[in-house]
C-alpha cells in the first residue's frame, strides 16, 4: 500500500512520527497525522521517495511529481481556511494529551546510560540493536521502562527507542486513505486522501479536535475531493 503514497503523503506520515516524537508521545495517533497535514513542507520532503512506477501503473506518478510538494500543501491551506491551522491543532493536542517533550529527552538519556552500562560488561547495545533490526526492521527493539512513574498503557513499553508505533486508529486512517483513493478511482494516495481518511475514520482524537475547532467536515470533504479531481483533470 505504501508504494502508492505520493511524496507529499509519505512526508505527512513521516511528519506524524516527528510530531509525536517532538511532543514526547509514545504512539502516533490520528491527531499527529492531522498535525502533520497542517504543515506546509516538512523537512522529510527533501528525501527522494518516488512512487514506484511498477506498482502505480500508468500515470501513477502524477500525484507524486506534480505540484504535490513544491507548492504549499493544498490540504494545509484547506485546513487553515476551515479553521484548523497548525497552532490551533497543536494547542488542542497538548490540551488533550499533554506535552511530554522534556520526558522524551530524559528517556533518551536513559537509553544512552544503558548502552554505556552494557558496554562495561562487554555488550554492544548498538550491535545487538543492529542485528535485531536487520531481521525485524528499524526500531523493533523497545527497551521497556522497568519502573514506570506514570502507568500509561503505552508509556511503559514503547518509550525510549527511536521508533514510535502507529495507534490502531492511525493505521485505520491510513487504510481508509487507500479506500478513499480507490473510491475516487485514483491509483495513488496523496495528502488529500489521508485527510479524507481522517474524516472517514471520524472517531479518533483528530476528529474530536476538528469538531472542537468547529471545522465543517462535510464542506472540507467536498473541498478535498474537488482539489483532487482538479488535479487529476
Amino acid at each position: 500500500m505504501f508504494e502508492r503514497f505520493t511524496k507529499g503523503a509519505r512526508s505527512a506520515v513521516i511528519g506524524a512520527q516527528q510530531e509525536a516524537r517532538e511532543l514526547g508521545h509514545t504512539v502516533i495517533g490520528t491527531e499527529h497525522v492531522l498535525l502533520a497535514l497542517t504543515t506546509d513542507a516538512g523537512p522529510a520532503e527533501a528525501t527522494p521517495s518516488r512512487a514506484d512506477p511498477r506498482q502505480a501503473g500508468p500515470g501513477g506518478d502524477r500525484g507524486g511529481d506534480r505540484g504535490d510538494e513544491r507548492s504549499p500543501s493544498a490540504v494545509a491551506v484547506l485546513l487553515r481556511d476551515a479553521g484548523a491551522d497548525r497552532q490551533r491543532v497543536r494547542a488542542a493536542i497538548v490540551a488533550h494529551v499533554g506535552d511530554r517533550s522534556a520526558e522524551a529527552t530524559a528517556l533518551a538519556d536513559r537509553d544512552a546510560e544503558d548502552a554505556a552500562a552494557l558496554k562495561a560488561i562487554g555488550i554492544d547495545l548498538n550491535a545487538v540493536r543492529a542485528a535485531i533490526e536487520e531481521n525485524f526492521g528499524a526500531g523493533s527493539l523497545h527497551l521497556p521502562q522497568p519502573a514506570p512513574k506514570k502507568k500509561g498503557i503505552f508509556g511503559r513499553f514503547y518509550a525510549g527507542s527511536g521508533h514510535i508505533p502507529f495507534s490502531p486508529r492511525a493505521k485505520k486512517v491510513l487504510e481508509l486513505s487507500l479506500r478513499e483513493a480507490l473510491r475516487l478511482k485514483h491509483n495513488y494516495i496523496a495528502r488529500e486522501h489521508i485527510m479524507l481518511g481522517i474524516l472517514r475514520e471520524g472517531e479518533g482524537l483528530a476528529a474530536l479536535i476538528l469538531a472542537e475547532l468547529e471545522v465543517d467536515t462535510t464542506r472540507l470533504r467536498a473541498d478535498l475531493t474537488d482539489a483532487l479531481s482538479a488535479r487529476a483533470a
Binding site: 500500500m1 546510560e113 544503558d114 548502552a115 552500562a117 552494557l118 558496554k119 562495561a120 560488561i121 562487554g122 555488550i123 547495545l125 545487538v128 535485531i132 525485524f136 523493533s140 527493539l141 523497545h142 527497551l143 521497556p144 521502562q145 522497568p146 513499553f157 508505533p165 490502531p168 487504510e175
Partner: protein, 78 residues
C-alpha cells in the same frame, strides 16, 4: 585512555553502582528481546504453550505477561 582500556577497567569494576546499573540495563534488554520474540512467535502462529515451552516457563505465565501487550492482528492480513 583508549576505549578498550576503558572497557576493561569498567568490566572489572567492583563499584556496586556500576555493576548494578549493568544489571538493570541487561534486564531492560532482556525484556525488550523477550517481547519482540514472543510477538514474532505469535505472529508466526505459535500457540502460547509452544512459546512457554521454548521460554521454559508456564503457559499461564507467558500469557499473563504478554497477551495484553501483543500488537493487534493486522486486519489487512486477516
Amino acid at each position: 585512555m583508549t576505549e578498550a582500556t576503558d572497557l576493561a577497567a569498567a568490566a572489572g569494576s567492583t563499584d556496586p553502582r556500576v555493576g548494578l546499573r549493568a544489571v538493570v540495563a541487561l534486564r531492560r534488554l532482556l525484556e525488550g528481546l523477550e517481547r519482540l520474540q514472543v510477538a514474532n512467535a505469535r505472529a508466526k502462529g505459535w500457540s502460547w504453550q509452544e512459546i512457554a515451552d521454548a521460554l521454559e516457563v508456564t503457559r499461564q505465565g507467558v500469557h499473563k505477561k504478554h497477551a495484553r501487550l501483543m500488537p493487534m492482528q493486522d486486519p489487512r492480513e486477516g
